[in-house]
Amino acid sequence: MLSATFKQDRAYLERKFKQQVCDPDSGLDNETLKSGVMALAEALGDLPHPVVKAKAFEYVARHVRIDVSPHDWFVAFGCWDRYDRPLNPLLVKWDKEVDDTLLTSLQTTQDQNDAGASIMWKDFDHSVPDWEVVFELGFPGLLERARRYRREREERGEMSDEARAYFDGIEITYGAILEMLDRFHGCALEHAADHERLPAVAACLDNLRQGTPTDTYEALQLIYLFFMFGEHIDRFQVRSLSNLDRMLQPFFQRDVTEKRYTTDQIREFLAYFLMQWASIDNYWGHPFYLGGTMPTGQCVVNDLSYLILDVFDELCIPTPKIQIKISPGTPVEFIDKALDMIRRGNSSLVFVSEASVKRALMHAGVPEQDACDCDITGCYEFIPRGRGNSTAAGYVNMLKPFELIFHNGVDPRTGIACGCQTGDLAEIHSFDEFYAAYLQQLDHVVETIIRCVNDFEQHLSRISPAQVFSATIENSLKTARDAFQDGSVYNLSLILEAGFATAVDALMIIKDVVFEKQELTLGEFRDILDADWHDHDKLRLKMLRHKHKFGNGIERVDALAENLARHLAETINRRPNARGGFYMASMHSARMFVVMGEKTGATPDGRKAGEEMSKNISPTMGMDTNGVTALVKSVTRIDSALFPGDFPLDVMMHPATVSGEDGLAAMRRLIEVYMKNHGVAIHFNIFDAKVLIEAQKHPEKYEGLQVRVCGWNVRFSDIAKAEQDAYIKRALSISE
């Protein structure tokens, strides 16, 4: 049970990242900070960007408002607004400079984006520090280690100007972090008389200022501080708060054994800790993960894993989001506990197979010793622990090639020639020829986005040097290269897709209706799609009800899906990127299944213009009518190792199907079969359509109702009506 004190403090915690809670006298407001940063950058002139950014970081750390509240165990930063961070204007300026002076593909990127063929994402969102090292060294230790690497490089006589700027950046940044810890410590002491909690907060901050965490509370404060320094000042998303049960277990065990804290006190720390991210309320959620295997081969799951789930369950919050890493030793009770939460609607959880992750990464060329211990670094993406970064660099619209074939390389909505010329439709005489044209257009889109990403990503560290992150990555220090640019062992760029299943459905329609039954010519189909099915409602319904849809375990459909997936993956995987690393294909759509759907005309499967497309490796909403086992069969006929970026499946089921102990065991069996067949990630929406319809009509009665969007949860009442309708449509198609 959560304590009465926590319940009283919850209101403060909920508003902590939604409005200014810091004392105005404790520092400068955001607008002044932003102006100050820009003035400072101006004054620093042509100094290297790592130094300028570090100085800006230092300026913010010295002047931002701070607070240590009697309502909280964690400190407050004045730069709490993730959409208005003080370094934003500087980084936007540098980004624009890169756009204006260095990129050769800017217009192409813009065209592809406008036409909805692909979207290049300027990704500074997927960094995960080496948490082992952060815990082992603490902030002062990280600074000392960077200095040591610097000295060694100097002694070897290898210090270039660039390397000097790199180390200067880290030293200034970490020096500023220590200064800010002093500020927090002073603030806590100043208010120590206000509440019995504050002296303990002060002692914690002092310890972290001097060295490494010594108990669970200090470890949690360290994670939180690292996150805030990284994300809110350095502006680099810290995309997992670590393998929380593995990292905290030694502290937890010692605290309880030595009676430093009771389990109830640790429960309270966890509640305050988790509430920080609930309050930040990042749309994409914020991940940490539980489970997996220790380097010793032992299963990670321990008492603390259960405790964390318990607290999360009680809080009933959509974020942070939890990944459960399944390994052979993961206890059934632990999986069942998570599944039971999902069943009850507390569903911000995804299951990820450790074995499938390892298999996929090894397929991508990562050696076994690195592939076997991975951090989850986003919704479900993964990288070798402490040795990598990965950018969600580009999203490919799997439906755009249809429009490009029908219009010989030109996007009909914008008139942009974003495809290649596949010729006159009248010259396409068979499905094989049509499919060849589809692949040709798809390849063109993929090649274009890779060209654009290569052009852009060589400048990542020019736009935003990753100082907080780099200091944690040993390879970066050894090479004196930015860890998010090319200083990690694995500098990976992902090419993601949206609309895969819808594309398969549309191809099957073309095959059946145009070439096998010859009910329509390609030209007639083009005209009908251009008119968004106007006056062809019946035909559209026929296409929607066509039996050959992906996700139903139908062999001929799945064979086409496998072929398409393989082609896509082989076009992308292991292609060198611009950062000394390589590309990996990903069956992950983030929110692009909606965004690119809006930019895509009607498609042969019965989809209307602007509607969302399928996401991840999942079927088009409502098109899997043969039940969940058929869905898993279709999906696992595609080799997940082709998609080392990730391979997530969304499953929706009716609450009656999974009720009782039998229902729980059935959900677990589903996960087991999926993972036995190398499925990577799986998550659930357990819905009754009636409840969703009621919640749409009366949102006030269903404020707590969560839905899983892609790799994150949102409140149902927070999403647009069109998106709500899509969930309802999907829920109506499943039976008990």
């Binding site: 319904l541 043969n626 039940g627 086992t629 009720s659 229902g663 065991a665 059935a666 069996r669 589903l670």
Partner: protein
Amino acid sequence: MSSTGTLLEVKRFAVHDGPGVRTTLFFKGCPLHCLWCHNPESISPRPQLACFSQKCLDCAECVPVCPENAHALIEDKHVLERERCTACGACETVCLGGALRLYGKTITVAEGLDLALEDREYYEPGGGVTLSGGEPLLQADFCRDLLAGLKQAGVHTAVDTCGCVNWAAFEAVLPFTDLFLVDFKHADSATHRRLTGQGNELIVANLRRLSAAGADIEIRMPLIPGCNDSDENLRATGNLLAELNLCRVKVLPYHAMARSKYTALGLPDTMPTVDPPDRQTLNRALSLFDR
């Protein structure tokens, strides 16, 4: 293995039809006509067309494909002349709204095995295949052949039966059935006849013989408020069940969710208008059985 069977539905990932994850094959035809039947489409042994009019788009696609002219569009509204329908199923394949559904398709044992084994990966541990209905044992030869094939494949088998069939049907499947799920409705034969159309003597006799034969039996009693939930009946049922060797007794709460199927099939709705029993009533029933 030349027999054929008529099924109304195959349910994959069935979670509540016996232990573990199962595939349940629902057979057409039932000797009982329970007032509360939640599978009215299973009662008649013949194929039947259902029309879920709330889904009908009045698209008239069914009109030209019907060889018997059973479908028409009158004043832009779809009309089905049920007496003309021979349940050929031609209309089901073209219905754009998914309103027309044919219940009753005949399959061979080999086809049945393919369907039943499709998801066998999910059956371990503890799951398997359940034959249900309707009353599967009205098609005992087909069931026997299908169950024999499943046992040969090493799959756990269950038969969900109302028990109101000749003992010969039980004998046919007994060697190939791991678990019998036997529905029991009422201990008093006269009331049983009033509620289901048949007395319970044959059911009770079959249960005793099944128990004596050493079969694993799970009793499933649908609890219908006002029909069979009196203390008197629950006690009498408990006494009767006490004579038997049972693995488990389960009480299934009544629900009226099948009501729309009666209308869709053109059948009189016999479902009682009562609320589902609450948890307390279900527990009371179970406690009376325990005595």
